[in-house]
């Protein structure tokens, strides 16, 4: 049983979810309310990770954050280390990989909120930020919660991207899916089965808990 890998995946998934909440909410807000003509281009870019094979995405992320790319070189000059084969590198890859899983449910949640409520709030002199915090976000909570759950779950099960940029370092980039794959490859089917069972149990518990909580959210703030 590889508890180290399970713990690493949990940390990666939680960090990814929080970063995606910080990035995804403004992005989803912009996608929902912007009237720019080229908005569809942004929507298409956000949805790309749904279509691209994870290994392709991972390969390009490896090139993009490696020491030969401008971004990778800049990071190296600032921090003194390189992004590939590090937890931070995985975090960058996971945020890109799970972006649509956060942005799309949240944008759908925002779009479902009755626009008249927002306009009423604005007309009463409440700022856009306060309206977002006190009217839009509470009403769109099911969408935000769905986005957070999906991002967490998607990162927990992430394999191809991590395989391409991680380098399989124990405690740093060997996530639970990589560990299970290694155990299968080493013909240790018993250990692979045990780790998979823990992952399955953990994922089910998290999902069941969140859906249970979400029902309470709906009970407190009915949508219709």
């Amino acid at each position: 049983m590889d508890w180290q890998a399970i713990w690493l995946s949990v940390r990666l998934a939680v960090s990814t979810t929080f970063i995606l909440l910080a990035l995804g909410l403004p992005l989803a807000y912009w996608i929902t309310f912007s009237r720019r003509r080229w908005k569809f281009l942004v929507e298409a870019v956000v949805a790309l990770p749904l279509v691209l094979p994870p290994t392709v995405l991972g390969f390009y992320v490896l090139l993009a954050i490696g020491p030969r790319s401008p971004a990778g070189a800049l990071y190296e000059r600032i921090s003194g280390s390189i992004l590939p084969f590090s937890f931070q590198g995985l975090l960058v890859a996971s945020v890109l990989y799970s972006l649509p899983f956060m942005v799309q449910p949240v944008a759908a949640g925002f779009a479902a909120v009755d626009r008249r409520l927002l306009e009423a709030s604005w007309c009463l002199g409440v700022s856009h930020l306060a309206t977002f915090r006190r009217v839009l976000a509470p009403l769109a909570m099911p969408g935000i919660a769905t986005g957070a759950i999906l991002s967490f779950a998607h990162t927990m099960g992430e394999f191809g991207v991590v395989l391409m940029v991680g380098g399989n370092i124990a405690g740093v980039t060997r996530t639970v899916s990589i560990s299970i794959y290694d155990q299968v490859q080493a013909l240790d089917y018993a250990a692979a089965g045990e780790t998979s069972l823990v992952l399955l149990g953990l994922s089910f518990t998290v999902l069941a808990l969140t859906y249970a909580l979400q029902r309470r959210i709906w009970a407190v703030w009915p949508l219709s």
């Binding site: 490696g66 390189i82 084969f85 399989n168 490859q185």
Partner: protein, 265 residues
């Protein structure tokens, strides 16, 4: 109503016509043309990727009645798939242990296990690197050393053993990054993410890689012999023909040209 009736009437002969065309295609497939070449499905280790293309071409020239269909992947994956009766005719593993284990389980053709090559490893650096491949493992400037995963990749096990016997393992251990297989290990180094890697000679001298880096061959004595072995999974005249061709001078010459030592040499 009327139009629907005529439409249905029109569909009947159309469907019949289609069916009869299909039926005639099925019937004629077996009779009109000369017999199609027998297809031989081969599960081949990833390090054979480049050699196999030439082997398939040469073999087909001498045996036009047999068509080789290689699939490349990790030997461990193939092992698991073959245990579950994957439809391959011949298994060319990177490690003779896998065919031996299959034979011990009563899978494949008994007594068909053969050793066809010895794998060789090299220390590889990209062409633009300032490192000398012969001393790169000891260089202080190196931050990441890529090897294949020793837990399941034969080339990873050889790399680890070689580093131990060269006395560099303790200083390198903290810098190791593990590729899923030897080809991905090369990719880690080629992308610049890792500074140096230990990969298969067969990859380092393969046409697409040859000009992109420099290598130093690790002495054979530094690591245990990497016997690449195979076996016949489904017995047929074509499979036996291929096995003996691979072990005869024609196949051996190609394998040697692509960076493998030959068994019994």
């Amino acid at each position: 109503m009327n139009s629907r009736g005529s439409a249905a009437g029109g569909r009947g002969p159309g469907l019949c016509g289609l069916l009869s065309i299909l039926a005639s295609m099925v019937l004629c497939a077996g009779c009109a043309r000369p017999p199609a070449p027998a297809k031989l499905q081969i599960a081949a280790a990833a390090d054979l990727n480049f050699a196999m293309q030439e082997i398939a071409r040469d073999f087909h020239q001498q045996h036009p009645e047999i068509d080789l269909q290689p699939a490349f992947g990790s030997s461990g994956n193939f092992y698991a798939q073959i245990q579950n009766h994957a439809p391959f005719d011949v298994f060319l593993s990177a490690d003779v242990d896998y065919p031996r284990k299959l034979a011990a389980q009563g899978l494949g053709v008994a007594d068909s296990v053969f050793v066809y090559a010895l794998g060789r490893i090299v220390v590889w650096v990209p062409a633009q690197s300032a490192l000398d491949p012969a001393t790169a493992l000891k260089a202080a400037a190196v931050r990441h050393v890529a090897i294949a995963n020793p837990q399941h990749a034969p080339y990873g096990r050889a790399a680890e053993a070689a580093m131990r016997s060269l006395g560099v393992y303790d200083s390198v251990e903290g810098k190791l990054v593990l590729g899923e297989n030897v080809a991905q290990t090369l990719e880690f180094v080629e992308s610049g993410a890792a500074d140096v890697g230990i990969v298969a000679l067969s990859l380092a001298i393969a046409p697409p890689v040859k000009d992109r880096g420099r290598y130093w061959e690790v002495p054979l004595a530094a690591y245990p012999k990497m016997e690449q072995g195979g076996m016949i999974l489904h017995d047929s005249a074509a499979a036996r023909e291929f096995r003996s061709w691979l072990l005869a001078p024609g196949g051996r010459a190609t394998l040697q040209r692509y960076g493998f030592y030959l068994p019994g040499k």
